[in-house]
Each structure stands twice: as C-alpha cells, then as structure tokens.
Amino acid sequence: MSDKLTTKLEILADAAKYDASCASGTAGKREAKAGGSGIGSLTGGTGICHSFTPDGRCVSLLKILMTNYCIYDCHYCINRKSSNVRRARFTVQEVVDLTINFYKRNYIEGLFLSSGIINTPDYTMESMVRIAKSLRLDHGFKGYIHLKTIPNASPELQEEAGLYADRLSINVEMPTQQSLNKYAPEKELGEITGAMSNLKNKIAEAKQSKSFSGKRPPRFAPGGQSTQMIIGADGSDDKIILGSSVDLYQKQKLRRVYYSAFSPIPDASLILPLKPAPLIREHRLYQADWLLRFYNFKLDEILQGTKDNMLSLDHDPKLAWALNNRHIFPIDLNKADKFLILRVPGIGAINANKIVSIRKFAHIAWVDLVKMRLPIEKIKPFVIVTDYKPALYLLEQEHLGLRMKRTEQLDLFSGAHLQNAS
C-alpha cells in the first residue's frame, strides 16, 4: 500500500463523481484470447453494476480523473483554475495498474477516464490516449474503456483515442452558448459539436462492413458517444434542454445524453446557486428523454400544457400528457394497437408486450392487470378490459391531476421510481 497513491485516488475519484455516466455496455461482445496474458470480456449486455453507493448509483467502472489540475475556469466545475481544492495527478502507469488490478478482483467492468486540462489540450489528450493504448496493447485488456475527450484537442488524437476506447464523450455541459459564456468562458459550443460531428463520421465509417477498397476499417469507439448536461446551474428551461438533446440525438447520433442535477461543490463559485437542483427535475428529464427515444413521443407532445416550459414535477411526463389528452382515453387493452397501449400512464414496454402476448390466447381482464402489478390507481381512469370500464366521471373530474399527484408521491416514497441513471 502506498499512501501517496491512496491520496491521489481519494482526490481524483472525488473529482470524478459529478459525472453521471457509468454505463459500460453497448460495445458488442468480445473476450481475451486463451493462452496469452490478455484479460477481460464484454458480455454484449448492458454491462454489470459491481456495487452501489449510498447515492443509489451503480459502480461499474473505475471512474477517475487523470488529473484535476486545470487551466480552464468553468464556474460549475470543482476543478476550475481558481478553486483551491487539493490537486493531484496520476502517472500513466498508476492508472493502468489500478485498472488491471481492480478488474482482476472483479470490482469493475473497465475504466472511465476524464481529466482536467494541463499544459495544452493536446498534451492532456495524448497522456489519456497513452493510458488506453497501454491497457489494450501491453495488457491485452478487453474490458470497457470510456474516454472523455478534450474538445479542442487535435483531430488526430481524437481518432487515435477511438482506436482504443469503446466510448468517447464530450460534455456539452450547458445547452446554449449564452450559458457557456457565463459559466464556462473558455468553451465554445461550436467547437464541441464540431468535435462530436467529427467523431460521428469516424464511428459511422468503422461500422460499414467494408470500405471501397474491400478492407474493413479499424474499430472505432463501437459504443458510440455520449454527453452530459448540468441541470439547474444556469437558467435554461426544460424546453431548451430537451430541444438540445433532440438535436444531439438526431444530428450527432449520440447514444446517450446524461442529465446531472447541479450539486453543490466545495469551494463553488459565487455565481452558482447555493442549493442543489431538485433531483426530481433530473428524474423527469430522464423520463422525458426515455419517451422521446423509445416511446415515439414528440418534443411538443411532452411540452404540451407545461408551465414556463418546465416539466411538471408532480406528474411524470407521460401522465402529464395523458391528463392533457383525456379525449383519447379510455383505451381498450384487448383491441388497441401497442402504440396506444404504450401511451397509457403506468404501462411500460415490458407490460405492453405481456398484454399483447396474453391477448393472442385469452381476454385481458382486471385480475390480469392486478397480477401484472400495474399501478392500479394510476391506470384506472385510462383503460378498458373485458370486465371493467372506467366511470366517465373519472376522466372528467377536475381534480384527477391532484389525485394522481398523491399516488405518484406514494411511488416516490417507496423508492420504486428510481431508475438507474447509468
């Protein structure tokens, strides 16, 4: 045990905890060859959570900063130049050793490395690439590697990073240039999206099975790219945030946008709010993001009826939409298209599939809904089954939203709503 290494790990893990992403899946399957010294595998699933911390988050990767020294002065960032946090810097070898030894003990799926910027962006990026390269080439490491790339490092370095990393990400941090100007004066939105777009092209190129010359292009970040936005530090409303997510999903083909509720940091800049942003807002944004990506919701449907373009904190976005579109309900679960079943508040993808499977062979009755453990109070006004039809007044009553708010709160206290943000 080296005390020096322990201190570095304390500082550089602490500095990395504000990054929400810990995903380690979606890069396909692979494993080390037998007979060599190689180690590791990817199972092809969503990646394994090897532990959970008391903040409810999954520990899947060794998530650290290479260094928290930084030449930039972004206000929301604990590592900004003007902050007087303790500083530390890992050597390339130290990060490699920690990763391999953690992996061998089955603590982690791999490494998620970001860094403050030291000397120049290229200098920093080059050291990060050396870590990934050493893991892959010196140790035959087949586990997961996520590199947070430095947006204004040279394209050559970004490309080299893609050869060794499974996922690359660049944090947009703030949804608009105005917010960046105020909170991260050295960051340019154009530069960030430019770098994303460059990576997007490389990823797409590597996905083609063969190029025109007949050769398969080298592997490049098979897990795609992701980004993170900080919620509640600036004044951006949910429309601006989700709008910018939609843009990133469509134009930059991102795999994931992470939302991180601003959390107070030690030694924070005075222009930041002192109070943490409500975690429930972050949760609602994830729910809305989910509806946009997997439930065929459009952004304006999600924003319909919102106050000041902010998602309701009382109702999840699907319920809020349903309350605004009561004329569509009730929906007959024995007849409706799956598309419509998915619009019923409280029925998710898994249960929609179950309903469709059962009704091929039997009629859906009320008892089936109970057995599926659907949130009965929530779905009651919205569905028809063979032996149940909601009384019309249920949908018409003014206080339906209020009643729903109470059921929702019960859910919240049970902790059942907590999706893993990873």
Partner: protein, 262 residues
C-alpha cells in the same frame, strides 16, 4: 402416492427423467411427492419409473425446457412439483400455457426463474476475488454465498473473462476451480481456502468512499439493487454506515465552504 427424491444439485437431468416417466405413465401431479437430497423420505423411486423411453413421443416446447433448466436451480424444493404440474398442464390442458403470463402457475414459474437469473447476475456482479501467491503463481480466490444453486450457471462467464488467470470460486455447496485449461468442481469446499486479505482491497475501499456523492443520498435505491443479504462478502459495504451517517454533515460543509468563497 409416489415419492421421488432428486439426489443431484441442481438435478435437471434427474428431474427430467423422472418427469418423463411419470408423464408417460399418466401419473397426475397430485399423486407425487417430490423431495431433494435433504428430504427425509426414503427413495421410493424404484424400478417402476425405470421404463424404456423409446416410445415416448410427446413433444415439449423448447421454451419449457429452457425455463425448467433455470427454475431447477432455485433453492425451494417446491420447484419439482411446480415444474411437473406445468408440464402436465401443457400436455393435457393448453399447449400455449406459458404464454398465459397471468396464470398462477406460470407466474410462479417466472418468479422463480427471475430469482435464479438475478442471483446468477449478482454473482457476476458482487463476487470479489482476493489474490494470493501459490507456488510463485497468482491465484485468485473468492467466497460467495448465492441464494440459489447458481454456481454452474456463471462459470462460463468467469472462464471467458478471467481465462488467463488461475481462480477458485467457493460457495457453501460447491466450488469451481479454473487452471487456465480445465474446470474442476468440488462439493462442500473448505471456506478456509479464502485468503484473509488482499493487497489491493484498500484501494477499492478508498475508491468506493470517494466516488459517493453525499449530496445525493438515495439509500433505498442502493438497497433495492444491493440488498443487505449480499453485504457480508463485499468488503466495501462495511463503509456504508459511516458514509450514511456523515453524508448530511459533509453536504453542509460543502455548502458552507461555498459561502465563504471570495
């Protein structure tokens, strides 16, 4: 009444043989008492089930066989009777029974298979190796207490991932040993083989304590995913009480530090 004792663990082949024989002879589910190796019943299996199976031509869906192989790993001995009852009903009542997701037997079957899947997943997630030097070679040894008989299910995962390492996984009912070429099993292994310490574990504890964000306490979410029954063999969990107790104060200190910032 017939009593059938399944001796092996998890015992799929044994159960299948017995179930086929009973089905062939038209013995209904309520005529059989099933028990496992711990059962107090004498083995009345006898010769009467030992009939040639060549005339047997009832086709059983692959889906049933798949789920039966999973459910048979459950620790609850009711699994044998449940599996046979579902099999009987598939043959005599409804061949689509497994699609009736809200049928009571089917739901029980799914609940049991889910529990086994989850238990297997939790081994791949929560098992912790300790390294020890064995004749100049590194040996990685883990002690894990699965809730069900799931060791065999996860061996392929560990073989793939740690192919070029020597490792041992010890569980109360069985151990698996991998020497980079072959896998060996041993029943009721000696838990004393598990090393008392490891030279990297302290770094892992350091990491765990520092990646936690005290401003975002969500204890229930943690417990949903990592119930206390697993804590015993996970070294980092001994930090949790302290992390929980000091979270509020750490958050307050962070905010106060912000207020003092000039």
């Amino acid at each position: 009444m017939k009593t059938i004792t399944i001796q092996s663990i998890p015992g799929f082949e044994e159960w299948r043989y017995a179930a086929r024989s009973c089905l062939h002879q038209g013995i209904s589910p309520d005529q059989i008492i099933w028990s496992d190796h711990n059962g107090t019943h004498n083995d009345l299996f006898g010769d009467d089930l030992n009939i040639p199976l060549k005339n047997y031509n009832i086709k059983i869906s692959k889906a049933f066989v798949e789920i039966a192989k999973v459910v048979i790993c459950h620790h609850d001995t009711q699994k044998y009777a449940l599996l046979y009852r579902v099999l009987w009903r598939i043959v005599h009542e409804n061949k689509h029974l497994l699609n009736l997701k809200t049928d009571d037997d089917v739901m029980k079957l799914r609940t049991m298979s889910k529990a086994v899947y989850r238990d297997g997943y939790k081994i791949t997630a929560f098992l912790r190796f300790r390294e020890m030097n064995h004749d100049g070679h590194a040996q990685f040894i883990a002690w894990h207490e699965p809730e069900h008989y799931t060791l065999e299910r996860v061996v392929p995962f560990f073989k793939k991932r740690f192919k070029n390492m020597n490792w041992s996984i010890l569980t109360p009912y069985r151990a698996a040993y991998w020497d980079q070429n072959n896998i060996y099993f041993e029943d009721n292994p000696d838990p004393e083989q598990f090393p008392k310490d490891d030279n990297f574990e302290q770094y892992w504890l350091t990491y765990y304590a520092n990646i936690f964000n005290p401003a975002r306490l969500k204890k229930e979410a943690m417990l949903n995913q990592m119930p206390k029954k697993y804590w015993k063999n996970m070294p980092e969990t001994k930090l949790i009480p302290d992390l929980l107790r000091t979270a509020e104060e750490k958050t307050r200190l962070m905010i106060n530090a912000s207020k003092n910032y000039k």
